[in-house]
C-alpha cells in the first residue's frame, strides 16, 4: 500500500509467506512502537506474587515506564524506586547504592513485606555490578524478608534467555522447597488464570486433582503452597524455562504442553498429561466435532470477511491461520516479527497451501505508516492487528487469554462472532496496559 510521507509516496508492504525466512522474516532495524499495550510487562507480572513489594533500580528513563505502570494498575503502594545517576556509573558504588537504597525503602514502608523483588537493569550488567554480593548483603540485613533478583535489561534480548522468559521464571524463584504432594499440579508462567472450562483444567478438576496457579493465590503463604506441586504445567512458550528451573530446584516434573490450535497436538498433550496424572480422557471425537460446529457457525456468519491475526493475541498465530484457512476462512494477514520454532510445521504448511498469505511486521519502522485511520472491514484477532487495520471489529485478547485446547477454539469462535456483531472502541481498549489487569486508564 502507498502512503504519503513528507510529500513522498512510500510503499508499505508485507512479505508473502512463500518468500519469508524462518524464523525471522524481517531485517532488524529501527523499531516502531505500536500503541497497542495489552501485553503485560515485568512490573505487572511481579505484582502477581501476593504481598510482594517491587523495587526497581534504574535510570530515570527506565523507571518512568514501570512506576507509571504501577500507578495505572493501582499498585503504587507496592512499588518503589532507586534512581541510578551519572555519578553512580563513575564512582563504582553501584552495589552500595542498591543495598542502601533498598534497605532505606524497606525501613520506610508502613509494613514489612514478606518478599521484595529487586529489579536491576542494563547498566548493572554493563558496569559489572556484583549482584551476588548485593543479594547476600540484603539477605543478611533483612533476614525476615525473601529477596529475589529480577531484571529489566531489554538490551539482553538476543543473549540467552529473553527478558520475558526470565521474568516468568522469577514468578517461582521465591518458592521454598517443601514435601511434594503426590498427584498435585501447578499451571505455571501465565499472566492470567487458566480458564476453568479449558481442556486441561476441566479434566484435572473433574478428576479431583489439586490445582495451583499463581494468579489464584491471595496471600504469600498460599503462594508458598505451590511448592508442593508434583507437576508443573507450562503451556506458554516463554514459561517453559521457568518450569525447567522449578524442576531442577524443587523436584517436581515439568510437563510442557504447548498451547496449540491443532487437534492432533491437543490430543497428544492431553494424553501426555493423562500419562502422569489420573485424569479421564475426554471424548476427543466429540470435542473435535463441537469445534467443527463452532467453526462452521462462524464461517456461515462472516463468510469471506478478510481476517488479520497478530502474534500478541495467540502464541501460535500461524497455527491459528492454518486452522481458519483450512476451514475456508479468508485469512489475509498475519502480524509477527518472528516465529517460534514450534510454528515450523504450520509455516511449512502455509508456504505450500497458502503461499500468498501476507506476513507483516509490527516493529519495523514502516509500520508507523501502516494505519490510515480509516475503518476497515477486517475482522482482527488481537490488538495490534486491530490497530494496523483500524478494525473496530476485533477480538480483544492477548497471550492466549487463559484459553486452552478445544475450549480455545470454541471460545475463540464465540469471540469472533461477538466481534463481528459488535464494534469496539479501538483507541480506548488497546491503549490500556496489560489486558485483564486492573487499570485506572
Amino acid at each position: 500500500m502507498l502512503r504519503k510521507v513528507n510529500g513522498h509516496e512510500v510503499d508499505i508492504e508485507p512479505i508473502k509467506i512463500r518468500d519469508c525466512n524462518f524464523p525471522s522474516p524481517f531485517h532488524a532495524g529501527l523499531e516502531f512502537s505500536s500503541p497497542a499495550r495489552g501485553t503485560w510487562n515485568i512490573a505487572h507480572q511481579g505484582m502477581l506474587i501476593p504481598e510482594a513489594h517491587e523495587i526497581f533500580v534504574c535510570a530515570a528513563s527506565c523507571l518512568r515506564g514501570v512506576v507509571l505502570t504501577a500507578y495505572e494498575m493501582r499498585a503504587e503502594k507496592r512499588f518503589s524506586t532507586v534512581a541510578v545517576e551519572e555519578q553512580n556509573l563513575v564512582d563504582g558504588n553501584m552495589e552500595e547504592l542498591i543495598v542502601d537504597g533498598v534497605s532505606h525503602i524497606i525501613d520506610q514502608l508502613p509494613q514489612k513485606p514478606p518478599c521484595v523483588l529487586v529489579y536491576t537493569s542494563c547498566v548493572h550488567h554493563f558496569c559489572g555490578c556484583d549482584l551476588e554480593l548485593v543479594y547476600r548483603e540484603l539477605r543478611k540485613k533483612h533476614p525476615d524478608i525473601d529477596f529475589t533478583d529480577c531484571y529489566m535489561n531489554p538490551i539482553m534480548r538476543k543473549s540467552g534467555r529473553t527478558p520475558d522468559q526470565i521474568m516468568r521464571s522469577r514468578f517461582y524463584s521465591l518458592l521454598k522447597p517443601r514435601p511434594i504432594q503426590k498427584g498435585t499440579v501447578a499451571f505455571i508462567g501465565n499472566d492470567f488464570s487458566t480458564a476453568k472450562d479449558s481442556t486441561l483444567y476441566k479434566a484435572l478438576s473433574e478428576a479431583g486433582i489439586r490445582i495451583y496457579e499463581l494468579t489464584e493465590c491471595k496471600t504469600y503463604e498460599e503462594y508458598q503452597e505451590m511448592a508442593a506441586a508434583e507437576y508443573y504445567i507450562a503451556d506458554y512458550p516463554s514459561a517453559k524455562a521457568g518450569g525447567e528451573d522449578l524442576q531442577a530446584r524443587l523436584g517436581g516434573k515439568l510437563l510442557y504442553l504447548p498451547f496449540t490450535f491443532s487437534y492432533e497436538e491437543i490430543r497428544k498433550n492431553v494424553r501426555e498429561l493423562a500419562f502422569h496424572v489420573p485424569i479421564r480422557l475426554p471424548d476427543f471425537d466429540k470435542e473435535e466435532s463441537l469445534c467443527e460446529e463452532s467453526l462452521s457457525k462462524v464461517k456461515e456468519t462472516i463468510g469471506q470477511t478478510p481476517i488479520a491475526i497478530d502474534f500478541a493475541a495467540f502464541s501460535r498465530p500461524l497455527g491459528l491461520a492454518r486452522l481458519l484457512l483450512s476451514h475456508g476462512f479468508n485469512v489475509k494477514r498475519v502480524y509477527a516479527d518472528s516465529f517460534t520454532g514450534e510454528e515450523k510445521s504450520d509455516f511449512d504448511y502455509l508456504c505450500q497451501q497458502e503461499p500468498d498469505l501476507e506476513i507483516w511486521p509490527t516493529l519495523d519502522a514502516q509500520m508507523r505508516f501502516a494505519s490510515d485511520r480509516k475503518a476497515s472491514d477486517y475482522l482482527c484477532i488481537g490488538q495490534k492487528a486491530a490497530h494496523f487495520n483500524t478494525a473496530p471489529h476485533f477480538v480483544n485478547i492477548v497471550e492466549n487469554g487463559g484459553l486452552y485446547g478445544y475450549q480455545a477454539i470454541t471460545e475463540l469462535c464465540r469471540l469472533m462472532l461477538d466481534a463481528v456483531e459488535n464494534e469496539k472502541d479501538i483507541r480506548t481498549l488497546i491503549q490500556k496496559k496489560a489486558w485483564g489487569c486492573e487499570s485506572c486508564i
Partner: protein, 379 residues
C-alpha cells in the same frame, strides 16, 4: 536517602524531552536504546502518538552492538529509513547504555548527514536527567540550525511563544488558548514552539519583536535568539487575567526596546503553602494567585534548578526533599501523585502534570491560560 522513592513517580527523562519537542516538526527522531524502550515515551508521555504519524523510532541496540561499539549498524539503519521516509532532519537521542559506552552522538549525526544530505543532530542525553534538559537542547539546536539569520526583527508586535510541549501543556487546548489570547490583544503570533507551528515560523523566528518563554524548556532557545537577533524575552505563562495583563504590558515595552520585567518575588509567602512543578509555570501560577487571591505560595521545583527560583523556593529533585518540604504543609497545589506524601490535614488542589503522572490524569488537566478560577475557587 537521596535517589530513593518509596512511592513518588519520576519525571519524564531527557531523551523523551528531545522526542516531545521535535515530535511535530517533520524530522526523524531515534532514541538510541534497547528494543521496547521507546514504548515508555509513546505510552505515557506522548498524547499525540495515536493520531500523528511522527517518525519516532528506537534503535533497538543489542548487548553485542553496545559492547563492540558497533555504531555502523545504527548508522546504516538510520540512513536506510531516512532515504525511504525523507525526514526534514534526523535527531539521535542517547540513553543510559550509550552514555556508559561513550557513544559519540554528534559524530554519528555528522556521518549520517554526510551520507544522506539531511541535517542531523546528535544529543548526548543520558536518560538520567529530566525532560527539561533534553527538550531545551533539542529546540535550541533546531532553531540554531534552521532559523534564517539574515532576517531583521519586525518593528511590529510579533511574538514567538517558546517552550511548548504536551509534557507541560498537554493537548487540552492550552497551546491554542495562548495563540488566541495574544492575537486577541493585537499581537501576531509567529511560532508556537514546538506545538501547532509551521516550519516557516521556525525559519522566520528571528522576525519576532519579542519572545515569551512559557517553560524552562524554552529558555536556552530564547537566550540564543537574544544573542543572535537581539530579541528580548520574558519568562512567564499568562495564568489568570491580572498576570496576563502584566505580561501583555511587559511584552509591549520589551518590543518597543525598553527595559521591562515582571517581579516574581513575593515577600508575603505563607508557611506551608506550596506549588510543586516546573519552574516557569509554577512561578507564574504563584504570581497569578498572589495577584488574584492574595494567597502567597512558594514553589518546589523537581524538574530543574532554575535561575528564576526565589529564595523562598526550593529545587526538590528527590522524594526526601519533597518529604522534608511538605512536613506540616498547609495547602499544596500539585500533580495528584504528590498527595501520597501529604498528611490528611493538608489542603490539596490537584493540578496534573503530564511530565510527571503521564496519561493517568490527562482528562483532568485544566486550561489555566487567562483564567485561574479553576484553582482560585478551590482555595
Amino acid at each position: 536517602m537521596k535517589q530513593t522513592s518509596r512511592i513518588l513517580s519520576t519525571y519524564s527523562a531527557d531523551a523523551f524531552g528531545v522526542a516531545s519537542m521535535l515530535f511535530e516538526l517533520g524530522g526523524m527522531v531515534i532514541i538510541h536504546d534497547a528494543s521496547g524502550c521507546n514504548s515508555t515515551y509513546t505510552t505515557h508521555d506522548e498524547p499525540r502518538w495515536f493520531d500523528m504519524d511522527s517518525m519516532l523510532f528506537v534503535s533497538a541496540i543489542s548487548e553485542l552492538e553496545a559492547i563492540m561499539g558497533d555504531d555502523n549498524k545504527l548508522i546504516e539503519d538510520i540512513v536506510t529509513e531516512a532515504k525511504r521516509f525523507h525526514p526534514r532532519f534526523i535527531a539521535i537521542a542517547g540513553t543510559p547504555i550509550p552514555a556508559m559506552t561513550g557513544f559519540d552522538a554528534e559524530s554519528v549525526a555528522f556521518q549520517i548527514e554526510n551520507e544522506t544530505g539531511i541535517p542531523a543532530f546528535g544529543f548526548s542525553t543520558t536518560g538520567m536527567k529530566t525532560y527539561v534538559s533534553g527538550a531545551s537542547m533539542a529546540l535550541r539546536a533546531i532553531v540554531e540550525r534552521f532559523s534564517i539569520k539574515e532576517i531583521t526583527p519586525s518593528g511590529n508586535r510579533v511574538l514567538n511563544i517558546i517552550g511548548l510541549t504536551p509534557l507541560d501543556f498537554s493537548t487540552n487546548g492550552q497551546c491554542e488558548s495562548l495563540r488566541e489570547l495574544f492575537e486577541k490583544n493585537g499581537w501576531t503570533v509567529n511560532a508556537t514552539l514546538a506545538m501547532n507551528t509551521t516550519w516557516e515560523s521556525i525559519e522566520n523566528i528571528g522576525s519576532a519583536s519579542v519572545n515569551l518563554v512559557v517553560s524552562s524548556t524554552g529558555r536556552a532557545t530564547a537566550e540564543y535568539l537574544k544573542e543572535t537577533f537581539g530579541t528580548p524575552y520574558l519568562e512567564a505563562v499568562p495564568y489568570g487575567s491580572q498576570l496576563t495583563g502584566k505580561i501583555l504590558e511587559t511584552l509591549s515595552l520589551l518590543a518597543d526596546g525598553k527595559e521591562a520585567a515582571i517581579d516574581f518575588n513575593d515577600p508575603e509567602t505563607e508557611d506551608g503553602c506550596f506549588i510543586i512543578g516546573e519552574e516557569i509555570s509554577s512561578l507564574s501560577l504563584a504570581k497569578a494567585l498572589a495577584l488574584e487571591t492574595n494567597r502567597h505560595f512558594s514553589v518546589l521545583c523537581p524538574t530543574n534548578d532554575g535561575p528564576k527560583l526565589r529564595s523562598c523556593d526550593r529545587y526538590t529533585p528527590y522524594e526526601e526533599d519533597i518529604d522534608d518540604a511538605l512536613r506540616g504543609a498547609g495547602t499544596v497545589i500539585s500533580d495528584p501523585i504528590y498527595r501520597n506524601v501529604l498528611t490528611e490535614k493538608a489542603a490539596f488542589i490537584a493540578l496534573p502534570h503530564e511530565a510527571y503522572s503521564g496519561r493517568i490524569f490527562r482528562k483532568d488537566i485544566p486550561n489555566l491560560i487567562g483564567d485561574i478560577s479553576y484553582i482560585a475557587e478551590k482555595l
